[in-house]
């Protein structure tokens, strides 16, 4: 069971890091590597998108390998994360549209918020069942 688990975790880690790498290439490539080439920019975005899909499939694969308690912990964490992401995202957008913050609302802030919320809620939920 542990070997299977580790295999799936490694697979998810590989697809996550390649997704981050292809995201960096698609973001900085047009300006610093291929000088806004008309074919390479959309190609890099498509590769990044496809990589993202494979990352989601690897995550689903790992999730399906969880036992019943782990599934419950992660499901609760996902619910909390989804709810908070919607509330935080809308409030953050309102702060921008009402000019209460100086800078524009950035999607990267929301992505970081989602990641941290999921991590925190998973840790808290795991402690509850110790």
């Amino acid at each position: 069971m542990k070997l299977e688990r580790n295999k799936r975790i490694k697979k998810l880690a590989v697809w996550t890091w390649t997704w981050v790498a292809t995201m960096a290439i698609a973001t900085f490539g047009p300006e610093f590597i291929w000088d806004h080439h008309p074919f390479l920019t959309p190609f890099a975005i498509i590769v990044n998108f496809a990589n993202g899909i494979l990352m989601i499939l690897a995550n689903r694969d790992l999730f399906n390998h969880f036992d019943e308690l782990e599934k419950k912990i992660h499901l609760e964490s996902l619910g909390i994360t989804l709810g908070l992401a919607v509330i935080f995202g809308m409030s953050y957008s309102l702060l921008d549209t009402t000019n209460l913050i100086r800078q524009d609302a950035e999607i990267s802030i929301l992505v970081m918020f989602i990641g941290l919320t999921y991590l925190t809620s998973t840790l808290i939920n795991s402690r509850r069942y110790r």
């Binding site: 069971m1 036992d67 019943e68 308690l69 782990e70 419950k72 795991s126 509850r128 069942y129 110790r130």
Partner: protein, 64 residues
């Protein structure tokens, strides 16, 4: 729900890790079941019933 999984496990000289491996769940799940913090699914309860050779109602007690 209360249960006597810990007593049955220790009587069988098993660690939580051993029981988890046989049932096909994590050690944390066995620990949570023993402490009454988590109620197992029906398939897990049946696996335990088969392992300890006891009917489910003699292992798990509904706490009203």
């Amino acid at each position: 729900m209360k249960n006597k999984i810990r007593e049955l496990r220790t009587a069988g000289n098993m660690t939580q890790e051993d029981l988890a491996e046989i049932i096909g769940v994590s050690r944390q799940t066995i620990n949570a079941i023993e402490k009454g913090k988590f109620d197992p699914s029906l398939p897990t309860a049946f696996k335990m019933s088969k392992l300890f050779k006891l009917p489910i109602e003699q292992m798990f007690f509904f706490d009203e």
